[in-house]
Symmetry: C2
Subunit: 225 residues, 2 copies
Amino acid sequence: MAETNAENTGNATTPRERYRAQVREEIKKHAWEQIATAGASALSLNAIAKQMGLSGPALYRYFANRDQLITELVRDAYRSLADAFLASARADGDLADLAHALRRWALDDPQRYLLVYGTPVPGYQAPEDTTGIAGEIMAVLLDACTAAGATTDDERLDERLDAHLAEHSAWAGDHPAPPSALRHALTVWTRLHGVLSLELAGHFTGMGFDPALLYAAETATLTGR
Amino acid sequence: MAETNAENTGNATTPRERYRAQVREEIKKHAWEQIATAGASALSLNAIAKQMGLSGPALYRYFANRDQLITELVRDAYRSLADAFLASARADGDLADLAHALRRWALDDPQRYLLVYGTPVPGYQAPEDTTGIAGEIMAVLLDACTAAGATTDDERLDERLDAHLAEHSAWAGDHPAPPSALRHALTVWTRLHGVLSLELAGHFTGMGFDPALLYAAETATLTGR
DNA sequence: TGTTTTCGTTAGAAGTTATAACGCTCGGCT
DNA sequence: AGCCGAGCGTTATAACTTCTAACGAAAACA
């Protein structure tokens, strides 16, 4: 009766919780494989159960419903990207390294990127912890942009946007970044996402050119050559 | 027996074809309403039939399956964007006007934009005619970029990308745009899409700032202030 | 007036998510 | 050691979905 708050910590205590965590991970593993080949919209709980030798409703002991499973996958994907960013930052990576890490992370599993940054269900609201992880990601980006700082401001007369962002900088948490760095971080985010998402969605296929060069050109302008 | 090639021309001749075209349009109308509220993944043929007072399988007289209906909606969406671009071009619109038209078209029906530029099903291949319409859109963009031309090249030392695009410019058709305009068109496309897609996907919600200002800043740098 | 094409129907198969109720098994506590 | 309850996996079932097949009716055509 007491201590019924399971699934809080990753480290399991009782053997029951250890088994439970293990099965949950296996479910997610199969879910990722299915998503990688058929996309998130085609994810089938029944198919996962069949692959695991279980019968249908057994999975509902581990995930309340399909949406909660997907939500957890999104959370894990966010966590994975945040870890990649933090690793780059710990290795003294600059903004260019961060951009490179982002592209590697995206190409490593395109559907994972699209699950996070692709088309959401209209009413979907991300849970609190994922927005927290998104904050971590943004913090690393803000660090890099603050460090890159004055070297790369080829966009002048953005005082209007800078002023606006200075007024609305709650999203940056308590990060001590100047308004120009806030603007720069947003610009990095949107520009890299612009190239990546179109590439991963297949809108460049058949056009012949190499998306990597386009991405490199964008990172070059963003990091000041 | 003869003349069985219906659905080719939009202008119907026989009353049967007129009725058929009318029902198809009504189906698509309900489909768009459903997509606007619940997204494309939640589109249900059964629900559409019920709304129209029909019973389930009746719709299969008009669309071979769910995927073909969605494909046609994508085609119509492409057509709509192309028309918006052509209208802007006919009104002597420059690159800034084109960017503005794109944003209006996107915000007018976010799910329509996401249906075209959002996450696709992994195996999906766009049919021939939609790629043709995409070519129209790109042609208008290339016109505007060629006209804007030398005024706005704040990105120097992109000779590597320019050379690459000069080699792989089949996607531009036979458009007489210089390599720098090809690069500029791609940059416009990816940067505007970067801001728009993140905005429409709701990744800016809760961050407080106004996405319109971010979009305006990008168009400003793209059009040379 | 007949004939043929087309349309909408119901019936049904094969899926899906999700709930309910039933045992069995394993783990913790006495 | 032994019990006993919590948790797990099962089947059955409901309510969905897409999509096919077969039938009847209505409309267009000759």
